[in-house]
Amino acid sequence: MLPFPRARSGPLLRSVRCLSSRQGGAMNVFDRSMKRKQKQWASSLLDSDKYDYLRDEAGSRVADRVYDVSRTFPLALDVGCGKSHVAEHLSKVEPKCEIPGHCVLADEEFLPFKENTFDLVLSSMSLHWINDLPGALRQIYQVLKPDGVFIGAMVGGETLYELRCSLQLAELEREGGFAPHISPYTAVTDLGNLLGRAGFNMLTVDIDEVQVNYPGMLEVMSDLQGMGESNCAWTRKSLLHRDTILAAAAIYKEMYGNEDGSVPATFQILYMIGWKPHESQAKPAKRGSANVSFANLSKISKLQTVHQKTNEKP
């Protein structure tokens, strides 16, 4: 873990979204209209396919997780589908399987669907720009049918920590203070709480770290811009001094550079699976209903053979 210099006073070195404190009031962290403009600009680029690699990778891993669930889903919703990265990978596994789709332009925080509509809700790489994440998760919970599942992927945790640290150190050294340039991410530990509060059952959360190597810091930033992932938090500084850019690029290369001269950028993708409760789901057993004792743990191999014998009897 990289030791951070401690500023004597001022904001936290790393802004973390505090999710457990607010109950009903919506947080307003991101300028959503700005984000829409950024995404439209990014998609209007002639070479916008160049920047799809991260979303494609996350989409394929989400599709893997969908196939891991041994159920068929007649109706599914992809929240923030972008260029339908997940649907592409879902149809790749079963060749010549056409998944008919319908695109709806809507806001993730105001889902225009009736309750209990979908068997499966997916979300890949779009939840990190939502202002009211608890509210959005609750809405996803509502549009799911009972015994429906939500499989999501979002960037979080320590994503882009190299870029964040380089910019912080450069601004400290050049300007005497720093402002947040990387948007605040959800920590892994918060994610379980969030899903539980929204009502989901049988949660699974895991992290995947994707490290992409770039020639330098400028390429990292221009690729992020091309992906439509530019900062749109209300607290963002609109200006980055050229001295700071130069300093940050030098710091990035020196502190994080690889031997071959490239620099890595880390994306921590958090995958989450949550089920809407239903009677058919396994529930924790009642207290006192155990019929095997922990004291028999040493005899577990004998217990297994007994179990097999009883199963083989006709």
């Binding site: 990289l2 030791p3 951070f4 210099p5 401690r6 500023a7 004597r8 150190l169 450069a170 400290l172 050294e173 050049r174 300007e175 005497g176 020639p215 330098g216 400028l218 390429e219 221009s222 001295d243 850019i245 130069l246 300093a247 690029a249 030098a250 710091i251 990035y252 290369k253 020196e254 502190m255």
Partner: protein, 70 residues
């Protein structure tokens, strides 16, 4: 062909940045080491703590830019 405005011009200028920085890799490494050393040491990073290394990097960068324009 879209018109030339301040955004297209500044974006074009930023595209030259990586090549120019590559010509000053020595100064950049020196500056980077100076800043990195403050993260491990006891003293905190304050403004202009590595100003000498930065000035060297900046002047190298500016002379590379001047050469590039010609």
């Amino acid at each position: 062909m879209s018109s030339s405005n301040v955004w297209t011009r500044s974006r074009a200028r930023m595209k030259l940045f990586p090549e120019l920085l590559a010509q000053c890799s020595g100064e950049a490494a020196a500056y980077g080491k100076c800043v990195a050393s403050t993260t491990t040491g006891k003293q905190e990073l304050t403004k202009n703590m590595c100003v000498k290394e930065f000035e060297a990097l900046k002047s190298c960068f500016q002379s590379a830019a001047k050469k590039g324009v010609k």
